[in-house]
Structures are given as C-alpha cells and as structure tokens.
C-alpha cells in the first residue's frame, strides 16, 4: 500500500511558470488520468513526480518520504516511468534494454542474475515483446519499441507507474492490449498508475479518476464519471463536445462537435418533425448553417430528443414510449405557428406519432412551406397500414415540396431564406 501525495507544487522552466499549486493524492490500486491541452503542464507534472524536475515550491511524498530527500536509487525502486518516446543511442537488444530495468535492484558490481533474467522475460511475455528479445531496439517499429520500454518499466517491479501518453505510437489493437494490461496490474497487483492521455475516450475507459489541467492549474479533479463533463471539457479545451455513456461499453464517450463560430445567424425558423435519430444529423447541420430550430413532438429519451437538448433546441415533448396526447399536440401546433418552414425527416410513422403529420397538414393549410425529405423507403417506414402514406401524399398534393437529399434541402432553404429577407426588406421600405 502506497500513497502518493503531490503537495501544492509550483514548477518553472527558467522564468516560465508551468505548474501552479498542483495538489492531489493517489493510492495503490488507483488509476489516475491526466488530461489537458498541449502545454498545460502534463508532462512537467510527471517529470516532477518522477524526481527529474524539482518543484520551486511544495514537494512530493511517497508515503511519508519526501522524494527529493530520497536517493535517486531509492525512488527508482518504487517508481517507474514510461515516456512518450525513447531514442536509444546504441544498438542494445530488446532484452538488454529490458534488463536495464533491474538496475535499481542490482548492486554495482553484480551481473544480472537468473532471477533478473526471469523477471525480464516475464515482463516481455506480458507485453508481447519476447519474440524479438534478440533484436536491436534501434531496428524495432515505434509500437514495438514502446512495448519494450513498458516491459522495462515492469521489470523495475515498481509500486508506482507513471505513463506519458504511453500508447500514442501504437495501433488500436496494441493500444487496448497495453492499456488492459496496465489496468490489470493496477487492480491485481495494486499498482498505483498515473497516466497522461491525449484521448478522452481512452482516459474515460481506463481511469478511475481524472485530473483536468489547464495552464498549469487543476481545473477539475475527481471520479472520471463526474469530472469528464462537457462543461469541464469546454472549460479546459475550449471545444464543444457531447459526453454520453456509451450504450455498449457503459463508459463515457466524448464526441467533439464543431460549431462554426462565424456563421451568420439566419432569419428562418424551422420546425422539424422527426424521431428515432432521423432528425439528429439535420439538427446539427441546420444549427451550423445558422437557422433557428424547433422540433416536436418528440418522446423523452428519444435520440432526437437528446440531441435537441444538447444543441439547446426547444421541443414539444411527450412521455417516453407514449402516443401523442392532445396536450402535446397543441403545444406542437403552437410551436409550429411561430416558424417559417416545416421539415419532415424520413422517420418511422406509427400509431404513436401519426398526429405529427396531422400537425403538418394544419401548418400547410396556414401557408407554412412544408418540405418532405424522401429517401425512397416510405413503405418500410410506414407502420400505420398506409395512413401515414396517405397523409404524405395529401401534403404533396396540397403543395408540400419533396427533396431527396440534405444538400437539396439546404439549397431550397437558402432560396426561402433569401425570399424571406427580401420580403422583410421590402416591407420595411414604404
């Protein structure tokens, strides 16, 4: 059982302050991830913990011992580091490099013993590097070399393992294999792991807790689930993201969404009839284009409802898995009456949401331009024994426009937008 305490450290390179009052604690069996943009001080933090860069203020404790008062060798017995990249100067074989991990445990004048060799071999088998034990590391690929370096760190038999973006050079399969191995060591051998990550999803998948660093200061710290929120990510990385629990893995999933900053706000207000995820991409595209959106009626928990919430689009709502009630229908009509265009997404129609088409009919009667997106699969989407098809045919006969693709839709909306602007312009003139 080890406790690592980072006790309010400040670090600088020359006069540039890189870390400011960083303070946290980790203990055996815990997997801590550090996330932050480039230059936020992640690597500096690791260098400081690994006794390479002495902080100007504060210090680091392993248990009760101040690491800057311990000997280098004492720290090396307890703490191993896997850096991002290791340039090896001479052509040592992989096994020779891994055996260097025994250095802190070997007296100065002893050669590597059989035990040392056995430990090295075991680490190499764990990391899948034993098959090139005899090859010079200088001839290995980036991923192979990194696995050798990880084997070297394991050969050190540390209680604490620090990793600086350890899987940057690895392909996805190796990435998962190595991270699974490290996670397993963390849980079975009660190793204390601190790893710097570039990839949110990898961090979310493996870390028990997370630290978000920005400009050398901790912005958020705590359990991964509570720390990795789109608010925190926005604060630290200045990007908009969707943070969701993935339905299959159950882990948090961070999806960056780009929002064009300089897109002009357009005058049209569009109401979207959708559901089951058919509206989500449209919502994103249309908001990016600068249109104002509303949507409904959507069932709560529907993917489109979630997307609307994330994009802050107002919706008319209905309880989960329930048919549209009069109340919701009325709310929807109210919403539609305030919009300039109605768009019907290629969604499934069943007894539950047929009233949305009824709403569309009303809108068209009131003269609101209605656009139907057709993808040629209406038969498969109609679960109302033709009622929905009838509605749509009627709408078309009464002047609704059909489009076949998103680009066609955007093109059409563009003309409407221009017309709308001209209309308001002319109205203002007299």
């Amino acid at each position: 059982m080890v406790v690592l305490t980072i006790d309010g450290i400040d670090c600088s390179y020359g006069s540039v302050k890189v870390l400011e009052d960083v303070q946290f604690g980790v203990e055996s069996g815990e997997f801590l991830g550090i996330l932050g943009p480039n230059g936020s001080g992640k690597t500096t933090l690791l260098r400081s913990i690994s006794r390479v860069l002495k902080p100007q203020k504060g210090t680091i404790f392993i248990g009760d011992a101040d690491i800057y008062k311990l000997k280098t060798l004492e720290v090396a017995k307890q703490l191993a580091v896997v850096p991002q990249d290791t340039p090896v100067t001479f052509d040592f074989t992989s096994l020779e490099v891994v055996l260097m991990g025994r250095n802190p445990h070997m007296p100065r004048f002893r050669m590597e013993s059989k035990e040392d060799l056995a430990i090295a071999k075991k680490s190499m088998e764990l990391t899948g590097t034993w098959q090139f034990a005899d090859r010079p590391v200088t001839e290995l690929s980036g991923g192979e070399k990194q696995r050798v370096i990880i084997a070297r760190a394991l050969t050190q038999e540390p209680k604490i393992l620090l990793l600086d973006e350890p899987t940057t050079h690895l392909d996805i399969c190796n990435q998962l294999e190595i991270m699974d191995l490290i996670k397993q060591l963390c849980k079975t051998k009660k190793m204390l792991i601190i790893a710097v990550f570039h990839d949110f999803n990898l961090a979310a998948r493996y870390c028990d807790s997370l630290i978000l660093l920005k400009e050398g200061k901790i912005v958020a710290v705590g359990e991964s689930n509570k720390t990795l929120t789109s608010e925190n990510v926005k604060k630290v990385f200045a990007v908009d993201t969707i943070v969701k629990k993935h339905p299959v893995t159950g882990q948090l999933h961070v999806i960056p969404i780009s929002r064009p900053q300089n897109q002009l706000q357009k005058s049209l207000i569009i109401h979207l009839i959708c559901g089951g995820g058919t509206g989500s991409p449209l919502m994103k595209i249309l908001t990016d284009e600068g249109y104002t959106l509303t949507a409904g009626v959507l069932n709560l928990l529907d993917t489109d409802h979630e997307t609307a919430q994330l994009l802050k689009i107002p919706t008319a709502n209905e309880a989960p898995f329930s048919p549209i009630t009069d109340e919701a229908h009325k709310a929807n009509l109210q919403m539609i009456s305030k919009t300039n265009v109605l768009v019907i997404a290629p969604t499934q129609f069943g007894g539950g949401n047929l009233r949305n088409l009824e709403a569309a009919e009303k809108a068209l009667e009131k003269g609101i331009p209605t656009i139907i997106i057709e993808d040629g699969t209406l038969e498969e989407r109609d679960f109302t024994k033709g009622k929905a098809t009838n509605y749509l045919t009627k709408l078309k006969n009464n002047g609704a426009i059909t489009v076949k693709s998103t680009s066609e839709l955007l093109h059409f909306l563009d003309t409407l937008e221009n017309k709308n602007n001209k209309g308001t312009h002319q109205k203002k003139k007299p």
Binding site: P87, V88, T89, F92, M106, D134
Partner: protein, 359 residues
C-alpha cells in the same frame, strides 16, 4: 527450460571473457612484433628471452648467455618503454572515446569534441614557442603544461555549460567545439610568430608522435592517471549503458546523472590529458576504436570499456611500428598513420553497417 533468446543472451555474456582473452593474446603478439621492429635486428627468440628474464619466478629458467648487453639495453631501455607508452596512449584515447560517446549519446563525440586535445596543444605550444622547456624530476614542463591545458579546458567547458545544477549535453558539445576553435586559433597564431627552428617541433608535437617516449619516466608519469581514470570509469559502465536511453530515463532507473556525468568527464579528461602530454595530439583513435569494438563486441559498456582499451592499445602499437619503418631512415609522425589508416577503415565500417547507431 530456457528459450533461445535467454540462451542467446547468456551466451553473449559468457563470451565476454573469451573476447577479452583473445584480444589480450593478440595484444601480446603485437607487442612482441613491435619490439622486433627497429634499426638493430634482434630476433624474436632473443626478445622473448629478454622479456622472460625480467619476470621473477621464471627468470632462472632462461638461458640468456647468448644475448648481448646491447640487445638487452635496446629492448628494455628504448623499445619497450616506447611500445608500452604507445599501448597506454592508445588504450587511454580509446577509453576516453567510449566515455565521451556514452555520455554524449553521440557517436561523433571523442576527446577532440570537448576540447581536451586542443587544450593540450595550447599548453604545449606555449612551452615550445616561449622556450620555457625545462626538465623537472624527469618530467618536463611541456608535459606538465599539456596535461594542465587539457584538464583545465574540460573544466572550463563543463562550467560554462552548467545551468544551475544541470549540464545539458548539447550545450556541453557546442561549448567544447567553440572552445576548441578558439584555442586552435591561438595555436595557429603561435605557429605564425614562432621561430623557424621551433616551428618544426611544434608541428611535430601537434601531429602526434611516440618518438620522445623512449624512456621509462614517460611510462611512470602517465600510468597512474590512466589506470585510476579507467578503473573509476569502469565502475560506471552500467550507468553508461542506461544513459543510452536518455538522461530522464537513466534517472528514473536510479542513475544520478549529473554526478555520473561529472565523474566520467573528469575521468575522461584525466586519461586524455595524461596520454597527450607525452604523445601530442594523436587523432582518430578516440573516435574509431570505440566504433570498431562496438561492431564486434556489442554496445554493453561493461565489456566495451576494457576491450576498447585493448584494441586501442594494439592499434596504436601497430601504427607506431608502421611509423617507425615506413620512411626508411627517418620516422613518420604516428598521428598521420592513425588518420591515414583510420579514415578509410571508418568509412568502410559506415558503409558496411549503415543501419543502427551510426544511421
């Protein structure tokens, strides 16, 4: 059950002693061969008898009645000290080369790059040009100034490069090169203003020669420095291995890098200074021998340091032998021989082994 890789590794390590043994035998052969070369012809069996006569325990077995007094004096008082000086200087330069290449993690490094050689030549040039060469207890002022010139230069380079408690190796290399150029300029200036008759001696010294080493005083004056420096550096052989992974990682593995660097730099400087103080500037040995040995033996400094020393010693003995006979009556400076033979061989090595550490 042991797997192949384990066996291969154990085999490689167990071969170290064999390599050293073979190299020592080769060294012995070169030594005797070198003693054989010279103006007066002394046959091999006589040389062996003379040598055996000196060894307590077996000297009574040797029948030395047919050996002339002159032959014994030539071998023992003239040729042997010179050959041993050659061996010591060769071993010293090769060892220093291994140390510097290890610390700098740069296959280009050698005693030249850190200013150890130009420092010595500046010291020597001052003594020669200013004509203050006097002998003191068998050691002359030229030797003393060359020695201190070399040591002082390394210390200056080290201190200039220091940032707080750290000495970044790139800064160290660049400072070394800058100081070397600076000192070279002074030496060149001294050459320009030197009197004609002094100029020859200075030029000869700078090219490097073992001709002035034909007495035992030279051996005794450098032996302690080289033995002590080489032994201490051998204590840090494993640290040099680990330094190949970079300084941060070496520290993570328990190496106190700044301390180790300081000790090794001083060892390298001592060894080099002692060597050049009697031989002048002999180039190429410090650069080429570590490479050559690494190709044969591998990069592990625990075996690379001793083997490089033996290979360096043998190489310089051969070069000196060639220098003694190649011009007939006179003698060629050995530094020319090392460069003439070393450069093409070095290029051959580079061409043959393009991959790996030389890439």
């Amino acid at each position: 059950m042991k797997t192949d890789s384990e066996k291969a590794h154990l085999k490689r390590v167990s071969h170290w002693k064999l390599y050293i043994l073979i190299l020592i035998i080769a060294f012995g052969l070169v030594l005797v061969l070198s003693l054989n070369l010279g103006y007066a012809h002394i046959p091999f069996d006589d040389i062996l008898k003379i040598l055996a006569k000196q060894v307590p325990g077996i000297n009574y077995l040797v029948d030395s009645s047919d050996i002339t007094q002159t032959a014994e004096v030539i071998i023992m008082q003239i040729r042997l000290p010179r050959v041993i000086c050659g061996a010591l200087v060769g071993a010293a330069l090769a060892t220093a080369g291994v140390i510097y290449q290890g610390i700098f993690r740069n296959p280009m490094a050698d005693p030249y790059t850190i200013g150890a050689l130009t420092g010595a030549s500046l010291g020597a040039a001052l003594v020669i040009v200013l004509g203050v060469g006097v002998s003191l207890f068998g050691v002359n002022t030229l030797q003393i100034l060359a020695f201190f010139g070399s040591i002082t230069t390394v210390l200056i380079v080290y201190n200039i490069s220091r940032v707080g408690s750290r000495v970044p190796v790139t800064t160290l290399l660049l400072t070394g090169i800058a100081i070397s150029l600076f000192q070279n300029a002074i030496v060149t200036f001294l050459k320009v203003i030197a009197e004609e008759k002094l100029l020859h001696g200075l030029t000869f010294w700078i090219i490097g020669s073992l001709a002035p080493t034909e007495n035992w005083n030279n051996v005794w004056s450098i032996l302690p420095f080289i033995v002590v420096g080489a032994t201490i550096s051998y204590f840090f052989a494993r640290d040099l291995n680990i330094l190949a992974l970079g300084e941060d990682q070496a520290q993570h593995l328990g190496v106190e890098i700044e301390k180790v660097k300081r000790i090794l730099l001083i060892c390298g400087a001592l060894i080099t200074a002692a060597a050049v103080s009697i031989s002048g500037i002999i180039g190429f040995v410090g650069l080429i021998i570590p490479h050559l040995t690494r190709v044969i033996i591998g990069p592990d400094h625990r075996v690379l340091l001793p083997t490089s020393a033996i290979v360096g010693a043998s190489f310089l003995m051969i070069c000196d032998a060639v220098a003694r006979v190649i011009m007939g009556s006179g003698e060629a400076p050995v530094g020319i021989i090392t460069a003439l033979s070393g450069a093409p061989f070095f290029i051959y090595l580079l061409r043959r082994k393009r991959k790996g550490y030389m890439a």
